[in-house]
Amino acid sequence: MEEPRPTHVDLAAAFEDSGVREVLEELDRTLIGLAPVKSRIRETAALLLVDQARRRMGLATGAPTLHMSFTGNPGTGKTTVALKMADLLHRLGYVRKGHLVTVTRDDLVGQYIGHTAPKTKEVLKKAMGGALFIDEAYYLYRPENERDYGQEAIEILLQVMENNRDDLVVILAGYADRMDRFFASNPGFRSRIAHHIEFPDYGDAELLTIAERMLDQQNYRLDEAARRAMSEYIPARRGQPHFANARSIRNALDRARLRQANRLFNEARGPIDADTLSTITEADLRSSRVFRGGLDVDRATGQAGASQAAE
């Protein structure tokens, strides 16, 4: 019944056929910076292609372990890359559906005895055929409370990661130092995860490009003065607490759009054109409290920052 084994494989052709090239190119095009992450993904893709070729020639047996951990500061693109990763694995035929299920501790751990196992299993079943992305995975383990149900979720997770290796890929994500501590106290996890990928912080220039691209996607643009203001905003924001890389930029832009709308509403006398509607000016950015010393200023005046909670 088995097909005859080929004696040669054409890796270049396999690369073209699998559609991996599109994913990698899309990754290059849509993600700014993250050079080490991209090179790791390229390496992983190469490994899987070679593995596939070896399997076709009967040299390899069993699926490789594909569970991963993504470590990095908030807003460095872990979820975005996880989505691309699921797509990549799907195109290479390592997962059947290629969807990504994103969960946190709340989705896995129950409230009372006997609640955790069904909850975790439900999530795992939903993720089968795709990838399960566990954000801030270290919250699963609470060493200070030995009766915490997180341990139960971890055990089920480990069991399924081992027994249903062909059915789903688990990606754990979180801050680097806390993930290290999590792995140190759960050696079972460490040994079951082959790929550890670290996400570096974005540089200021990268964040500016990201800002422009985000605006572009929503059909907004920065005028020249606003661009300058943005490039000053980024280092200023970085120096303040709760900086979350691209996410902080997105929040800043959301607030700038709010101010722009408000400004247009107050200033506009008569009809305005599309250009005015889609331009963010310097004033919209400069009025940010980041330029006035940041969140602490608001604290002092008693306005708890809603935006800070959102970060």
């Binding site: 069904p118 795992l124 939903k126 089968m128 055929g129 249903n164 789903l168």
Partner: protein, 139 residues
């Protein structure tokens, strides 16, 4: 006597991979797949015990195979079937149903004849397994 109910019952027993492919077909059609078990093999026993909830939002059939195996751990000595429910208007009914697990020993059915008025005879069938109380059937 091998119980012949539902689809594929005249074929050799389905492997896990067969189950996955069939369940995937159901999922791809948008039907909710669920796992059920019983120790009452009578053909008119429509409502089997549910093993968990119907799986409405699992895109991949590996979850079904996973549940079948979980159910086997607990109820490996009884009949387990996978059914696919089609909720679309006009159907609202079971589209697929096939047995995925059966007891090691299936004693089969006997015919029971009941004498009625005149020379009338009513026929019915009864599984030999049903002579034991619930839970004690199929050892």
């Amino acid at each position: 006597m091998k119980l012949r109910q539902g689809q594929f019952s005249f074929l050799p027993d389905l492997t896990d991979d067969d189950i996955r492919v069939q369940a995937q077909y159901a999922i791809d059609n948008g039907w909710a797949v669920s796992v059920e078990y019983t120790d009452d093999p009578h053909p008119r026993n429509t409502y089997w015990e549910m093993w968990g909830h119907p799986m409405f939002d699992n895109p991949d059939a590996a979850a079904v195979v996973f549940e079948v195996n979980e159910c086997r751990k607990e109820h490996g000595g009884t009949y387990i079937r996978v059914i696919a429910f089609d909720s679309s208007p006009g159907w609202e009914s079971i589209r697929m149903s096939f047995i995925v697990n059966r007891p090691a020993d299936e004693p089969g059915f006997r015919v029971v004849r009941q004498e009625g008025e005149g020379r009338l005879v009513r026929y019915t069938i009864e599984s030999y397994a049903m002579r034991e109380p619930e839970g004690a059937r199929y050892a």
